[in-house]
Symmetry: C2
Subunit: 191 residues, 2 copies
């Protein structure tokens, strides 16, 4: 059994908790107010907005050494809604990995709206979680947790692919914001 | 009735022809060998690989003035399979638009595998075609052709969004190349 710590108990944190627990794994739920509570999980999901990543690194950087750290953020420029705030050839996940050199950083869940993780369905489709990262053991560990919930995983490749995954997450948000899709559905993958 | 010229009769050209004709619109089918045959359509789909766009511009740039020109390419670096060949802050569509300043360039169809356009289905889902572009009339014209076929359209915004659409197209190709999805299925959108 894998213990997963989730930092951030908003819509996404709750949805990922539901996914983990559905698969029979355990969750340590931490809010941003729990900064003094040590993370216990082997996998730590940072279910916070992009703007909060730096403070998490400052508060918990040393605790996260040796752990699998999952970045789920979409660094959308919410002022212009016309692009991402990270450099075009980078990604939020690449930035985080540079700040946590002793952690195994993965990108996952950012292309899924919360409801599709909580239920395991996008409409009638099984939810697919894209995972990118450079450490194969870390990917396998997270993949086991996701597939135990009944969701599919797609190995999106190295952490470089976070760039394209953040592009998908951004587009999906714009489609929902423009009311072309529901915030409870969105991209699905037919294998 | 809209007349659509399609240049390039490979898998994608044939699939887009099938889509257009299913909606009751007409297609002028042109291969790369038909360089001397003038395009007649109001919409011209360049169903060719990224590497062929420059020669199309050289052969037909003047003919394409005033027309809606659809770029469907995914400028994947097929040597490394580790990124796109266009600059990170640009896209194949942005490059094409710069070379065809008197045409209304749209990005579309690059996130759909051919079979999903030919049949209108991704598994049990209705195929969704993402369209990005800066000219609203051109987008409406192409949207009418696509929706007449029974497929859905998603307005992905300005031509800048071609960057993220090419990221989706690239990821989808890597998922199929790594046999995680079929070349006949892939991304779908649940509204």
């Amino acid at each position: 059994m894998t213990n997963v710590s989730i930092i951030g108990m908003g819509n996404m944190g709750e949805a990922i908790s539901a996914l983990v627990e559905r698969g029979g794994h355990t969750v340590q739920k931490l809010t941003r107010q729990d900064a003094s509570v040590p993370v216990k999980g082997d996998i730590v999901v940072l279910a916070v907005p992009y703007a909060s990543l730096d403070s998490i690194v400052a508060e918990r950087g040393e605790q996260l050494a040796g752990k699998t750290v999952v970045d789920i953020t979409n660094p959308v420029n919410f002022e212009t809604f016309d692009g991402l705030t990270v450099p075009a050839d980078s990604s939020a996940a690449a930035e985080l990995a540079a700040k946590l050199p002793n952690s195994n950083v993965l990108k996952a869940f950012n292309t899924n709206f919360g409801a599709t993780l909580a239920t395991g369905k996008v409409g009638d489709l099984t939810t697919s979680v894209l995972i990118a990262g450079d450490d194969q053991d870390a990917k396998a560990q997270l993949s086991d947790v996701v597939t135990a919930s009944g969701a599919n995983i797609i190995d999106a490749g190295s952490l470089k692919r976070a760039r394209e995954m953040e592009g998908i997450g951004f587009l999906q948000i714009t489609f929902a914001a423009s009311e072309q899709i529901a915030w409870t559905s969105g991209f699905g993958i037919v294998k």
